[in-house]
């Protein structure tokens, strides 16, 4: 009898699963996030908003399916299989484990990921410029190119940018690689100074004096934890220090540009719309998150001998006195 009951429960499960809805002639976009929290929810809402702007209205021709793995990669894997079986027009995985699960589950359905910091390192795409296959998306790597442009805008004569980083931190190593590529594109050079321990940060910063026109602080735990030593070198040598994160600006770096997750979602949604219109994901280069939240520290700028141009102060979303 027990087995009969279990059989009934199974049949119910199968029947229930088959009810999965799909608009008759419209498009279906299946979104999954590894977990629900404000930043990732903002990405999802951004995707939906951008699709709406592009003429794909949720509920009117566009079916949006959303699943959260509630922090569990095994559930993420199951959601990936479910989406692969649903055959939606585009799958949008948010964050690295979800994107990897979806990449493992399908090799032909179009996939546009979001907030994967290092999509090449995560083996979701073979290269950023030509992802090939069925996958592209938006990386939430700090908007390094925007940062270089900001440095150029505030210090127009800058051609050599110094960077202090710990070669033992995977994230900052991949960030330095992106920084070098971006610098090469804008005709700048990157001068590296290694700081394997936080005690080495100030020495590494001093080694850059005279060799560079500005210093850039990447998202590197070692360097950020010993930031004050580096900032002191900047003040003493009138060498402006820029950073990748806004907390460091509050501590005394000149400026940064950050993104908010809603914007990253909108950027992703615009890409999803291109795929819905028929573009092949593999032919769309992976985009780095673009930022517009400009934060400047006027006091630090003065102490490091730079004048903030009006274009920057007018655009700033936050000016620290």
């Amino acid at each position: 009898m027990m087995r009969v009951m279990a059989g009934a429960a199974m049949a119910l499960a199968l029947a229930g699963g088959a009810v999965s809805v799909q608009a008759a002639d419209g498009k279906t976009v299946a979104i999954t996030a590894i977990v629900e929290h404000p930043a990732l929810d903002a990405v999802r809402d951004g995707v939906i908003a951008a699709l709406d702007q592009a003429g794909y209205k949720a509920g009117a021709g566009l079916t949006i399916e959303f699943q959260s793995a509630q922090g569990n990669p095994a559930t993420a894997a199951q959601i990936a299989r479910r989406f692969a079986g649903m055959k939606p027009d585009v799958i949008v995985p948010i964050a690295t484990p979800s994107a990897q699960a979806v990449a493992a589950a399908t090799r032909d359905l179009p996939v546009v990921f979001s907030v994967v910091t290092d999509p090449v390192g995560a083996q979701i795409v073979k290269s950023l410029d030509a992802p090939g296959a069925n996958i592209t998306g938006v990386s939430d790597m700090a908007p390094v190119a925007d940062h270089l442009a900001l440095i150029k805008e505030i210090v127009p004569a800058a051609t050599r940018v110094g960077v202090v980083f710990n070669p033992g931190e995977t994230n900052s190593v991949s960030m330095i690689k992106v920084l070098k590529d971006a610098a090469a594109k804008s005709g700048m050079t990157v001068v590296e100074a290694a700081a394997p321990k936080s005690a080495d940060v100030q020495t590494a910063a001093r080694s850059l004096v005279g060799k560079v026109d500005a210093v850039y602080v990447p998202l590197d735990n070692t360097v950020v934890s010993a930031l004050e030593g580096l900032l002191a070198v900047g003040v003493q040598s009138k060498l402006p220090v820029f950073s990748a994160d806004s907390d460091s600006v509050a501590r005394g770096a000149v400026a940064t540009i950050g993104f908010n997750y809603r914007q990253v979602g909108e950027q992703t949604g615009a890409m999803v719309a291109r795929v819905l219109k028929g573009e092949k994901p593999g032919a769309i280069p992976v985009e780095m998150a673009r930022g517009s939240d400009l934060v400047v520290n006027a006091k630090a700028a003065a102490a490091m001998g730079v004048t903030l141009p009006d274009s920057v102060t007018k655009r700033a979303s936050k000016i620290l006195p």
């Binding site: 009898m1 009810v19 199951q78 990897q100």
Partner: protein
């Protein structure tokens, strides 16, 4: 439910069946509540993925993952047996230590092997679609494990282990070294969990430090659902029940994922899964009670 979703659920259920078998060994056979599995599952994934990225043979990497899991289990057993730390606490200590160790093993929170060769790669070329090949291969691992475990538990050594779990004092009186039985049993249990982790990494293309969260709950649920569905009829059946329970649990999750059709939302997933499992557990009991009442009348 589509084919891909159905076979996906079966595949992940089979991977977690190895966890259920490990949990069956510790909880049911040895009566040792062991939470190490929340750490040894991602440890298996981390060891296998890191070795595969370093160019190791995937089979060797999988074996290393089993040994790493067994080592973690041994640490818990030693903390309990040698230093008399309560089993629950000993396993919690190992579990939290493993979080840091897993980060050390991988060097970062997530190691990808989406583009590397795994133990599954040679089988992808045999003409069957990937979503069929994966569960078949995991099934082979599970079937071999069930047979080996059933055989082991019927040998004299296995009987000594079972006796240790049932009544340690009596077992000692019979000349059984109960400490060695617990040590070996917990190591074997976590070795199986490490194998599950290694297979999870290879079927899904990544190891992630968060993969362990809730492994023990899933393993226990599988054991209990299995026992409810397949009544005990000897050791092979008990082990098979763990496998069936694990697959049913994953089908329940798969159903919960489709529950938006009846007005539930994504954040209700865990609740729906829990309710489905609870219903599976309660229904047979209600049925049995009605039967006895009818018999009484």
């Amino acid at each position: 439910m589509s084919d891909i979703a159905f076979f996906g659920a079966v595949e992940i259920g089979l991977v977690y069946a190895l966890v259920a078998l490990g949990v069956f060994l510790s909880f049911r056979v040895l009566d040792f509540p062991d939470l190490t599995v929340d750490g040894s599952f991602p440890l298996g994934a981390a060891v296998a993925a890191t070795l595969i990225v370093a160019g190791a043979n995937p089979w060797a990497a999988t074996l290393a993952a089993v040994l790493a899991g067994a080592g973690a289990g041994l640490v818990t057993a030693v903390l309990n047996l040698r230093f008399h730390i309560l089993h629950l606490l000993a396993s919690i200590l190992t579990m939290i230590a493993l979080f840091s160790i897993n980060l050390r093993v991988m060097g970062r929170p997530n190691v990808a092997i989406l583009m590397q060769d795994t133990v599954l790669t040679p089988f992808y070329g045999l003409g069957l679609p990937e979503h069929i090949v994966r569960p078949l291969l995991v099934l082979a691992f599970v079937a071999v494990t069930v047979l080996l475990l059933a055989w082991f538990l019927s040998t004299e050594a296995g009987l000594a282990m079972r006796a240790t779990g049932v009544n340690a004092r009596m077992a000692r009186a019979q000349g059984i070294d109960t400490g060695r039985q617990v040590g070996f049993g917990i190591a074997l249990s976590n070795g199986l969990v490490g194998l599950a982790g290694a297979l999870f990494a290879q079927t899904n293309g990544f190891a992630d430090v968060t993969t362990g969260m809730g492994t023990i709950v899933v393993g226990l649920a599988a054991v209990i659902v299995g026992e409810t569905v397949l009544p005990l009829k000897g050791m092979v059946w008990a082990l098979a029940a763990c496998v069936v329970g694990s697959i049913l649990y994953r089908l329940a999750v798969q159903f919960a994922l489709s529950a938006d059709a009846i007005g539930l939302q994504a954040s209700d997933l865990n609740l729906v899964t829990a309710v489905l499992v609870a219903v599976a557990l309660i229904l047979p009991r209600l049925k049995a009670r009605r039967k006895t009442r009818r018999a009484a009348a």
